[in-house]
Symmetry: D2
Subunit: 290 residues, 4 copies
Amino acid sequence: MTNPPPVIGIVVMQPISYESYMIMKLKTVLAQKRSKYQNIEIVELSEYGKALVLDGLVQSTEVDEYIYHESLVHPAMITHPNPKKVLIVGGGEGATLREVLKHSTVQEAIMVDIDGDVVELCKKYLETLHAGAFENPRAKVIIADGKEYIEKTNEIFDVIILDLTDPYASEIAQELYTAKFYRKVYERLAEDGIMVTQAGSSFYYEEVYDRVLESVKEVFPIVKEYNVWVPSFGYACNFIIGSKKYNPEELTVQEVDRRLNERKVTTKFYSGRTHIALMNLPIYRKSKVR
Amino acid sequence: MTNPPPVIGIVVMQPISYESYMIMKLKTVLAQKRSKYQNIEIVELSEYGKALVLDGLVQSTEVDEYIYHESLVHPAMITHPNPKKVLIVGGGEGATLREVLKHSTVQEAIMVDIDGDVVELCKKYLETLHAGAFENPRAKVIIADGKEYIEKTNEIFDVIILDLTDPYASEIAQELYTAKFYRKVYERLAEDGIMVTQAGSSFYYEEVYDRVLESVKEVFPIVKEYNVWVPSFGYACNFIIGSKKYNPEELTVQEVDRRLNERKVTTKFYSGRTHIALMNLPIYRKSKVR
Amino acid sequence: MTNPPPVIGIVVMQPISYESYMIMKLKTVLAQKRSKYQNIEIVELSEYGKALVLDGLVQSTEVDEYIYHESLVHPAMITHPNPKKVLIVGGGEGATLREVLKHSTVQEAIMVDIDGDVVELCKKYLETLHAGAFENPRAKVIIADGKEYIEKTNEIFDVIILDLTDPYASEIAQELYTAKFYRKVYERLAEDGIMVTQAGSSFYYEEVYDRVLESVKEVFPIVKEYNVWVPSFGYACNFIIGSKKYNPEELTVQEVDRRLNERKVTTKFYSGRTHIALMNLPIYRKSKVR
Amino acid sequence: MTNPPPVIGIVVMQPISYESYMIMKLKTVLAQKRSKYQNIEIVELSEYGKALVLDGLVQSTEVDEYIYHESLVHPAMITHPNPKKVLIVGGGEGATLREVLKHSTVQEAIMVDIDGDVVELCKKYLETLHAGAFENPRAKVIIADGKEYIEKTNEIFDVIILDLTDPYASEIAQELYTAKFYRKVYERLAEDGIMVTQAGSSFYYEEVYDRVLESVKEVFPIVKEYNVWVPSFGYACNFIIGSKKYNPEELTVQEVDRRLNERKVTTKFYSGRTHIALMNLPIYRKSKVR
């Protein structure tokens, strides 16, 4: 490389896998808190802008969060022909909520995050991420354990979105990646309901990912996995849709674009063409070659 | 992250961009040479197996090279209905040659690499990469400056594949990313010929990438860009097709699979569905959000 | 190593030499400023407490700054039998000033630092370092170019202490490591005056260090070099004394302790025994073995 | 820092403490072996030459090993007026043996290392370290557990040198840092015998170090600790002498130099002056300031 300036000074050292790290230049630390559940840091990265970091792992950055959040939310939301009531578990940044609320069909979006400190800090420091979503009259934010919420609520949802820390990362999310939990999710979905979960990296943590995938398959009749590279994660992030009735693979470019247009959803990454790409891109797995 | 073993001992510290690095655990160094053009290292990485490293940048690893090489070779090769004569510039590992030779239509594949030391070391240490391609009677390997070769040869090719180090990396490849060079390539292509070049990262080096893209557009009537995440690079690698007649976007899943089948091409990553995904996946760019 | 917790999250990546780095876990960033001269960061490190970082290089930390500052100040101050008037060039943290003022013989200590932003930020965030020295009635702080100050002043000093960034680091200090500058220093010293300068690492930057050492030798009749490991620097820091009359090597343990006691100087690192150790410890040099 | 070339490519990432690392540029890997006890690597570092690395920790490098080995061996050897029979436990590189054999008084030096693979690899690749010591007729190398050897032997030694991996590092050495073991060592020493052990870093691992120091004090009437910076370790290495009769602090510069001369010992680091420095330099401890 011809004369890259050396990366010195303050950096974030992020584990990508058991045997690799990513080092990113940091501009400043905006806030830090040890909450009841995790280490929370709001930082500004040289290449990615402001970012939420939990237990040393980047969750979202201003520069590339749209790739993650649009890929998490819209395939499931668009696959459902008329999502009115949506539940988000996790998603403390408010960006998942922001994307959900873009769909004009949505009458109520409930977001349940266990860590009130994450929500407070994101509200204060990451305005470009929530973009006012927390104040939207259709939004309702509940600070509670998502697992307990799902077990106790009587509400029925059209779409449930699980926006959690990685299944192999901090312990707080691990029970939310089990068949037992997905069965509770299934029960809280309408008869044509659909759920989606982020699922970490199938490439670097294939065994953990396979357990999650099998768990979704145990519960839902229609299961679709897809993955998309998120630069600040250092890997392609996987997502798994579990659906009772609608199959995300059956949508055409035109139908996706028609629905986006009808619902007045504007995006930077997701579109009819992106939907087709995500539905067709191979899932990254090391076992393919070993 | 719950108890990741610390990454200590011997590692590769690879620049991803001007302000980030990737650190990968290394098992052993198999060979090292300072050639006339670059520092060559053949190493074994814990997570990726054997790998070729040039000037500190991973070029190919046993575990994920198929993603890069299949994505480089097959979209262009399949778009051409009957590629008989193919030129590869660069590609010292022999893996691009290996993929080209999979197409039963190919009668002659000429590979021109400037650095004989890279070819020698790859031949000796990276057998899984070339997989015997160098010995294939349809293959011809020439150690020469690709630019000079293209300027002097009278041969005409159906497909030309540029498998070079990144346009922002070592200086040896920089002249091979210019409109001036692409005009020479155009002249050496049949009237329905097609070329493809790898183009580094549009996300981390957007300006450099844009210059390359504009240069291809100056010369070719049909231009198609696509990108795919390569784990050991730490980013999605971009590719640009320049075509005189055939449009890679017009192929269907079925037609791609039919051609692969007809030509007896077997793959791990590329397929009709992958082709559609690559043609539709958005190009990663920071400027989208800034 | 049995189970060291992995160092992840926010860290400082500090160059030790042209080919090595030190990585230190960071707790938080307290302040950051790009001044006219350098990048200033006040951080809190996990193992070292609060620290001043200039252009990515740790200057002082709460945990080990006493080693550096006592080793810089006291050998020269104690070698002089009655230092009344002292000049400090650099030393923005105020810790060098703090050590100088411990000597009851001192009637006036003038500190000249080029960067008012460093002084302001240290005053505000690094109280344990200056420990009120800036408010001491015997102290006078001048924000000015040390070189210009020395050239223009008519004052005569007993001791002059050069507490600058490394000679091979940021450009702002480079002219203050030349024979030309040392001649000006010589002129501003009383006829039995003594000066001392920190001089970076003789081990990692031997050529640069040798030029500095030769420059002091060109000007002063008595020259004594010594070095001491400073943990947060990642190396042993060198110091060079230039003296007109008194030889630091001639002091006994007892005489050093007597003077410290007489002047009511209390220390954590420096003592009669430490003086003897510093005067006798070999200077680290790679050339010794090559 | 003005334009340091970025440290990229293959490096060694060495833990210095629980919260810091040292990164050193690597030229090549000469040999690697997973022995029964540890990961053994013989590498060549850009700044330090060839080096032995055990479990990711640098043990010795060509460039600075003399600092460590001379500081380990000579203070104890010189303190004894006539060391004839010496036992080394550990010290697989042969450099400790090399230093011991420099003393013309020595009639027999027995080296007991548990890991025959370390000895074999060092013999083959690190000639500058052992410098032929293994072939010296006064030397005897035994591959055995040092603890068991000491328990079973009937031999009596004038000096016993414990050259082990750090007490907080790999488990193999931990029992050799206990009072129980030191009592066995005591029994195997002549009535005017003396032992010395390396003891890792008192600065970064103060608690572990204190346990070792207390253990030596439990057993020996005369105990002397000293420390010296070893560049490639990233810290000052501590040593502890336990002596039955002779006090290393009572030697003068002249007496040390006289004995070195008499015994025909030539050195690069150690001398009468160095002895005085080591005996007087403060021990690095974080608790001093906390």
